[in-house]
């Protein structure tokens, strides 16, 4: 069925539509905060964040599950940029990279695609892949804090989500409990930036040293 067809070249349009154009400022803010220089863009999609990071001088590795997304990312990559692409799932990072490979791991709109168990495992692997004091940056759609805001979030989002899905077969899902999950994986939260409605958050965290049973 055509509606099930993944549509990488329409993905960017879909996400722009769903975020009412704000996604570009999110990519901009994440790339501004990223310290690098060895940076992993987890769930890189068509490489929007990875290209921005590379332009700032980072050595970027983009990881995505979808070979079609990576095809588009390769096509869009400027010649000579320090960009490397790897096809892997979020819980397969340890199969692809040795421990302490990166200074920064950044991820935009990826964690909300995962189940709670996948998020916990992915965060555990991120902890393993980051160097001491390494930086984790996650920007994602989250569940708004209060009932009123959640109701408003649902009302505002539902028609937009339906149109976006119909046009591009792209959607996102609000995640809850992300900050607690990040802390449980052995990170210290450094920064939280949210939009006015509280349904989109940018979190910056730092790798704590491994304790017994946490993040090791």
């Amino acid at each position: 069925m055509r509606i099930l067809e993944s549509a990488p070249e329409r993905y960017d349009f879909g996400i722009r539509l769903l975020s009412l154009g704000r996604i570009n400022s999110v990519y901009g803010r994440v790339s501004q905060l990223a310290r690098g220089p060895d940076t992993l863009d987890l769930g890189c999609g068509t490489g929007n964040l990875a290209r921005r990071l590379a332009a700032r001088g980072h050595r970027v590795t983009g990881v995505d599950l979808s070979p079609e997304m990576l095809d588009v990312a390769r096509l869009k990559a400027p010649p000579g940029a320090a960009l490397n692409w790897v096809q892997a799932g979020a819980v397969e990072l340890v199969d692809c990279f040795p421990p302490a490979s990166f200074d920064t791991i950044a991820s935009v709109l990826m964690f909300s695609e995962l189940s709670p168990a996948e998020r916990a495992e992915t965060l555990r692997q991120c902890h393993r892949l980051l160097r001491a004091g390494g930086q984790l940056l996650i920007a994602d759609e989250v569940r708004a804090g209060t009932f009123g805001r959640r109701a408003l979030q649902t009302m505002l989002r539902a028609p937009l989500a339906a149109i976006t899905y119909a046009l591009t077969q792209t959607s996102t899902h609000a995640v809850r409990g992300l900050e607690e999950e990040i802390a449980a994986a052995g990170f210290s939260l450094l920064r939280r930036e949210s939009n006015r409605l509280g349904d989109f958050t940018l979190l910056e965290a730092e790798r704590k040293e491994a304790r017994d049973g946490v993040g090791a």
Partner: protein, 400 residues
């Protein structure tokens, strides 16, 4: 009242089967599984999970529900959403490794189009085998540890056909009914009745409407490639439509009140419904190849020298196209015309001895099939077939 909830979900999800119905990826204990209990895996399409659990009543086993975006086994495997990555994910996150002493995983056979067993084994140490196509065969398979030819074969029995009729009749009648209710309420009931009659007739009588699936012939005019959804011969749909129009005429004759305007109106409306209901026969039946136009009709080529007769093609083919010559240790394509182009044999062949060949003779690299999963939908086909302009087919499989 779990059974009431179960029955309600079954009805709702069957009616809205065109939509994904995700359930939480997880590990489910069936009965009282011990450390040597079988480990099965399925998609996270809610309807499938509930049916597998029903089939496993009375068994002791573990069932892993993989994150396939709420799409059924065959569709998600052909669409690249049920691959080794989803299998690895649930193996790593479910805690199953702490529950059993063995590392043998039973996958649904129709996932063979998407799941590369080698990658699963390399990354997790689990050895995957392909179980039966249908969940109802699981008890017999688990009891004997043997898969019969029957268990390998995808069929399209009456019950499954009627399920597909509901899948199409419900959204067509619901959307059409709501639109008519806004301006022409008295037409709602006849319209809904017409949609259900046509859908039930098309799928119910499917085996008798033109024999096996028709595919585009060489002489099919080029513009038919734009009718990507339809069976190019369109004979099935015409038969159902003409039968319906004949029924309308019979009704008018019986009432002895000929109304030519009503007849033309309902005749056109029924043609529209026939086309809507028959829009995705390739996706709604296991009888067509993934593409319907000649440009997308691939055939399987076997490199006999490379083949060592390890029979993976025979093991995963849902149409029983292969036989194995056990003396010469070679596979043979006994029923090439039965192939529905699912690609499971190409993905699973350990010797890379099988490949798809396009009508113009171009061999599609095996790695391309493994990477993009078979499907050859839309733009993916552009990279692999020379008829780039023709590559806008839809053809995953909903009924699995």
């Amino acid at each position: 009242m779990a059974w009431v909830r179960d029955a309600f979900s079954e009805v709702v999800e069957t009616c809205l089967r065109v939509l994904p119905w995700p359930t939480l990826p997880r590990l489910i204990r069936v009965g009282h599984p011990g450390r040597d209990a079988p480990v099965l895996l399925t998609c996270n399409y809610d309807l499938t999970v509930r049916r597998v659990l029903r089939a496993l009543r009375g068994q002791n086993a573990f069932l892993l529900v993989a994150p396939t975006r709420g799409i059924n086994v065959w569709c998600s495997a052909a669409g690249g959403m049920f691959t080794a990555h989803q299998v690895i994910s649930i193996l790593r996150t479910s805690g199953i490794e702490r529950e059993v002493d063995h590392r043998r995983l039973i996958l649904p056979q129709l996932s063979a189009t998407g799941v590369e067993r080698k990658l699963v084994q390399e990354r997790t140490g689990w050895h995957a085998v392909f179980g039966p196509v249908e969940a109802r065969d699981l008890p017999a398979y688990l009891a004997t540890n043997h898969k019969t030819n029957e268990m390998r074969h995808v069929r399209f029995p009456l019950l499954r056909r009627l399920e597909m009729a509901v899948t199409w009749a419900f959204p067509v009648s619901a959307i059409g009914g709501v639109i008519l209710a806004l301006g022409w309420p008295r037409l709602v009931l006849p319209f809904v009745a017409m949609a259900w009659t046509i859908a039930v007739a098309l799928f119910g009588f499917f085996p008798w409407l033109g024999g096996r699936a028709e595919h585009g012939a060489r002489e099919t005019p080029g513009w038919t490639r734009y009718l990507v959804f339809f069976d190019p011969s369109i004979r099935r749909l015409l038969v159902v439509w003409l039968a319906f129009v004949a029924g309308l005429c019979g009704f008018e004759y019986w009432k002895d009140a000929w109304n030519i305007h009503a007849l033309i109106g309902w005749g056109l409306a029924s043609l529209f419904i026939v086309l809507l209901v028959g829009m995705d026969l390739a996706g709604s039946t296991p009888l067509y190849k993934s593409g319907l136009h000649e440009d997308r009709l691939l055939h399987i080529e076997l490199d006999s020298d490379a083949c060592q007769g390890r029979a993976m093609c025979w093991e995963v083919c849902p149409k029983n196209c292969y036989v194995i010559d056990t003396e010469r240790h070679k596979a043979l394509i006994a029923l090439p015309d039965a192939c529905v182009q699912c690609g499971a044999c190409v993905v699973q062949c350990p010797e890379d001895a099988l490949a798809f060949v396009t009508p113009s003779g171009q061999r599609i690299p095996i790695e391309t099939i493994r990477k993009y999963k078979l499907n050859l939908l839309g733009r993916r086909a552009i990279a692999v077939t020379p008829q780039a302009d023709a590559a806008h087919s839809g053809g995953s499989r909903r009924e699995a």
